[in-house]
């Protein structure tokens, strides 16, 4: 936190946003021809590409198959050029394995896996440009790719990170805010039922502020949901108009 003023007296953040303002969302569905579903989503300067294939037969050892639901397989990777310093290993390090696990846990709750017993759904996500909120962008991109693939979901899964500076929750933190070392909470929400599919918090946050931060995250996720569903509707309208 040394030196950098994350929230000015006028209530502006380092990149000129207000505390509860999201970054600009851009998304395109169906960017890849070969995959069952794909999406490219950009949230501010963070950009992720999600590819979904499946449901298909179990790849690899058949023993992984579940008799009552589908297996969700997630792989997260960061492009070597995604960060300011060139990354040596795009995937396979501890952090990316953890991220893959978190993505899998998130989507296992959201996808109606019981409809596809003994099959597998693959979600591959790659961060092309990293500027904070990697997990959230990945979740949003993967949701859009799942929608594109036509895989039945409980609801959209919208994720948003929230920081906390000067008693104020900062919605959708960028890299500078993340790196400052304050608390950052990532929430993945099913907006319609307001159920939390995933929740993680880093660094110290007093318990009294927890409800405020969670509330801010809920509002942000609902805003994101509005944007994402509008994008899906527009894409579908375009597609049907073309026929």
């Amino acid at each position: 936190m040394a030196g950098v003023e994350l929230l000015s007296d006028q209530g502006y953040r380092v990149d000129g946003r207000r505390a509860s303002e999201l970054r600009r969302v851009q998304c395109r569905l169906g960017v890849l021809g070969q995959a069952d579903g794909s999406a490219l989503l950009q949230l501010g300067n963070t950009r992720a590409l999600a590819v979904v294939s499946g449901p298909h037969e179990i790849r690899g050892s058949k023993s992984k198959a579940l008799h009552d639901r589908a297996v969700v397989n997630c792989q997260y990777s960061m492009a070597t050029f995604s960060t300011a310093e060139r990354k040596r290993r795009p995937h396979g390090d501890r952090k990316s394995i953890e991220m893959s696990l978190h993505l899998r846990q998130t989507f296992e709750t959201a996808i109606l896996t019981q409809l596809f017993p003994r099959s597998q759904i693959d979600i591959f996500v790659q961060i092309l440009k990293s500027d904070g909120g990697n997990y959230c962008v990945c979740v949003n991109a993967a949701t859009m790719a799942l929608v594109d693939a036509g895989i039945p979901l409980q609801d959209y899964v919208c994720a948003c990170s929230v920081g906390f500076v000067d008693e104020t929750p900062l919605v959708d933190v960028c890299y500078a805010e993340e790196a400052a070392g304050g608390p950052v909470m990532a929430v993945a929400l099913l907006p319609r039922s307001e159920q939390v599919a995933f929740l993680s918090l880093d660094s110290r946050l007093h318990e009294d502020h927890l409800s405020g931060v969670m509330k801010a995250a809920t509002v942000a996720c609902r805003d994101l949901h509005a944007v994402l569903s509008r994008i899906v509707k527009e894409t579908l309208q375009e597609a049907t108009a073309g026929e």
Binding site: R94, K95, I97, E98, L101, H102, Q105, E108, T109, G181, P183, M185, L190, S193, E194, Q195, V196, A197, F198, L199, S200, L201, D202, S203, R204, L205, H206, E207, D208, L210, S211, M214, K215, T218
Partner: protein, 436 residues
């Protein structure tokens, strides 16, 4: 080895128990298992037991060059090892996804919350800093390894002492433990985790799940908090959908639990310091509980038997007078008499008379009769068995009382002097009952 799958029967049983708010070990929903913390003889070694879950933490340090991005900060390293020793389900070698997740959680919990002051670990900025390494080994897995590991890591870090260093100009002196007292680490706070297991689509939750409960649960929420009620990490995972209120409620519960746990750790640390100061035995072997069967002392157990005693008295009062069995004393050969009718004694009776007569003569010499007499009405002598049947109907006040209502037979061994009369006069047999 792959873990044995849980049978449907067990699963249903646990789920039913959870629904009825019961737990196999008798705990309540929000109860923690018993926490036991033991320190080793060396600094920074600690074993934590959480019920049957047991983990060992060992802190070590060495001088390394710092990371270029943080030249004036020491390095903290955490490693949680899940070996097959703890559970056959854990694989040797390669870390499983679960192990990586737990390792990351441990790092997030302890490192990113800055529980240990890293700047005080710097020796020369940009050149030499201390690397403090915490290795945690799971020794036995009975659920909730994460909480036990975090307790162990915290306790071990607080217990650890690093060698003292001084810097004079360019010269760095590292003092051995003998030369200077080692220095403790600067601990800002202790983040401790509380694990909540969710069942029945999130409608039921349990604190500190055992292994069986862990295998049945749908998801878990892990709340790391310090005693100042600051959340240090939060993680909901395992495919469960939660509502906001649930998360808030869990954080409240966690704040209470963390206070209790901090207290336990502090007490354990103080006890250890005290023990070291007084030169008492300390160390892991010392603190292991004695679980032998052959313990030399019996522990008094307080049992309330008032009720039983009262009822017994009543029964005795109401009972009919026992049949007239008292006083039926059978004298079976020399040295032996019998009260009541038992089996026929077959091994003393074959004694030949003359020998026993001699013994009795000898016995006559020592001591007087203590006036113990039995009045007998009838004496019958059976030629073969040489059994004397005595019927003691009336008793003199100083005559032995055979005061038991039990119908059981009693064999009374008569001492030699008592039998004096037998030899001289078969009609008078004094009886003395040895104290049972």
């Amino acid at each position: 080895m792959k873990e044995t799958p849980l049978s449907n029967c067990e699963r249903d049983f646990v789920l039913l128990a959870v629904r009825e708010k019961k737990r196999l070990d008798g705990r309540q929903t929000y109860d923690y298992r018993k926490v036991r913390i033991a320190f080793g003889t060396e600094y920074g070694c600690c074993v934590v037991e959480l019920g049957k879950t047991r983990v060992l933490a060992q802190v070590s340090c060495e001088l390394v060059s710092p990371k270029p991005s943080r030249p004036s900060e020491g390095v903290l390293f955490f490693n949680l090892e899940l070996s097959p020793m703890a559970s056959p389900g854990f694989e040797q070698g390669r870390q499983s996804e679960m192990a990586i997740e737990m390792n990351r959680l441990l790092e997030r919990c302890l490192r990113s919350s800055r529980s240990v002051d890293t700047e005080s670990l710097c020796v020369i900025s940009g050149e030499k800093v201390w690397q403090v390494r915490t290795d945690i080994h799971a020794l036995n897995h009975d659920g909730n390894i994460m909480d036990a590991a975090v307790i162990a890591a915290n306790a071990a870090l607080a217990h650890f002492r690093r060698p003292d260093v001084t810097v004079q100009g360019e010269e760095v002196t590292l003092y051995s433990v003998e030369d200077r007292d080692p220095v403790p680490l600067t601990i800002h706070h202790m983040p401790l985790t509380t694990t909540f297991a969710f069942f029945h689509e999130g409608s039921r939750l349990l604190v500190d799940p055992t292994r069986l409960e862990e295998r049945v649960m749908e998801g878990r929420l892990l709340v790391a908090m310090n005693k100042h009620r600051e959340l240090c990490a939060l993680q909901a995972s395992g495919g469960i959908r939660l509502l906001q209120d649930q998360v808030l409620r869990c954080s409240h519960v966690a704040s209470v639990k963390v206070l209790e746990l901090t207290e336990i750790i502090q007490r354990a640390l103080e006890n250890d310091v005290q023990a070291r100061k007084e030169g008492r035995c300390c160390g892991l072997a010392e603190s292991l509980p004695v679980q032998r069967v052959t313990v030399a002392c019996a522990h008094d157990a307080v049992v309330n038997n008032e009720e039983a005693r009262r009822r017994a008295d009543e029964v005795v009062k109401c009972a009919e007078e026992p049949a007239d069995t008292e006083g039926a004393v059978y004298h079976r050969g020399p040295h032996t008499a019998q009260v009541g009718e038992g089996l026929v004694n077959s091994w003393v009776v074959d004694d030949n008379e003359p020998k026993s007569e001699e013994e009795q003569e000898e016995a006559m010499d020592d001591g007087d009769l203590e006036g113990v007499k039995v009045e007998n009405e009838e004496v019958e002598e059976l030629s073969d068995d040489s059994v004397v049947i005595l019927e003691t109907q009336h008793r003199a006040p100083n005559v032995v009382q055979l005061s038991d209502g039990s119908e059981e037979d009693e064999v009374i061994i008569l001492s030699g002097k008592d039998l004096m009369n037998v030899s001289s006069d078969w009609s008078r047999v004094p009886l003395s009952v040895p104290p049972c």
